[in-house]
Symmetry: C2
Subunit: 189 residues, 2 copies
């Protein structure tokens, strides 16, 4: 997606070989117009797949995912990183280790919102090692829902996540695919 790649080059910052800082427009300060453009791009790609729900992982995926869900006219389900008091025991849960953030957390979702009749589009901001996406897939499996596709805003193609998901036969659509990061240098595929 050209305008996204241009924005990454303009406002993103490669801190080292691994970390791309895009917090001025994607995951800390958020540009709503860009989120809408991203929403249309994903919605257009997946429009004939009979998506019944968009699923994302709190919290950086929520902004682009909400726009996709709005355009596809389906509910958005936010997978939670811990069980809140008001979620009670009616949840599916799975442990996820984020190598990027160096933490392990429980990803949970109410059983009420993942149904065996659902064709789910997963949306997330980054794909690196694929741990969050794999956790989301496990939750969908517990609910016997179908994962129809995964939309990623920024794929770090040099990390193992994308190959892991492709091996599962999933249709992954990444809007920006990064081949290589070096301090102050960003190279797209």
């Amino acid at each position: 997606m050209k305008i996204l790649e241009e924005r990454i080059l303009k406002d993103g910052k490669a801190l080292d070989n691994n970390i791309l800082k895009v917090d001025s427009f994607l995951n800390h300060q958020v540009d709503p117009k860009l989120m809408k453009d991203i929403g249309y791009e994903f919605a257009n790609y997946f429009k004939n797949k009979n998506i019944t729900k968009v699923v994302t992982i709190e919290s950086s995926g929520i902004a682009p995912a909400l726009m996709v869900a709005d355009i596809l006219n389906v509910p958005l389900v936010i997978l939670k990183k811990q069980t809140s008091k008001t979620l009670n025991n009616n949840v599916y849960t799975t442990a996820v280790t984020s190598f990027t953030k160096g933490i392990t957390y429980n990803l949970t979702v109410s059983k009420d919102y993942i149904l065996s009749s659902d064709n789910v589009l997963i949306i997330d901001d980054f794909l690196a090692n694929g741990e969050a996406a794999s956790g989301a897939l496990r939750l969908l499996e517990m609910g016997k829902a179908t994962c129809t596709g995964i939309g990623i805003v920024i794929e770090k193609s040099f990390q193992p996540g994308i190959e892991k998901l492709k091996k599962l036969g999933i249709d992954v659509y990444s809007l920006a695919r990064i081949k290589k990061l070096e301090k102050d240098t960003i190279v797209f595929e």
Copy 2:
């Protein structure tokens, strides 16, 4: 806001005198159309206030706040509940205790996104004890930004948050104001 009150009565659930569960349309499963209606309601109320930024607290405020920011054509800034690896040390931070969730966390924001020239509209899903909103106000103060108003989706008017904010002279606009909760009973102001 009539359609919101109707939705709360239809799909919300009072678990006890304190907890209102609205996770089927607001903070776990999210109805994007309702978020857009909420966005228009807030944007219309605050449209003449020269808002330069919408600020929310991760993660349940993001969906309504993104819609408001989109309609007002300003950036959204998401206050983070902990410092992430890529945020570095250039942050304002303040401790917040959530009585509802029984936890204390650090609320942080990059100094780059709260400026002394900003007229900020704070948007959040719930107002109960006002701890999160007060934390957001402290961060704005550290950045010498102006808080022009606070938009709340659901105000629990029987808890102290609303009085606390009004005493500060802040224009608080709540779309649904709950006078009383009892198990299976919801009473609006």
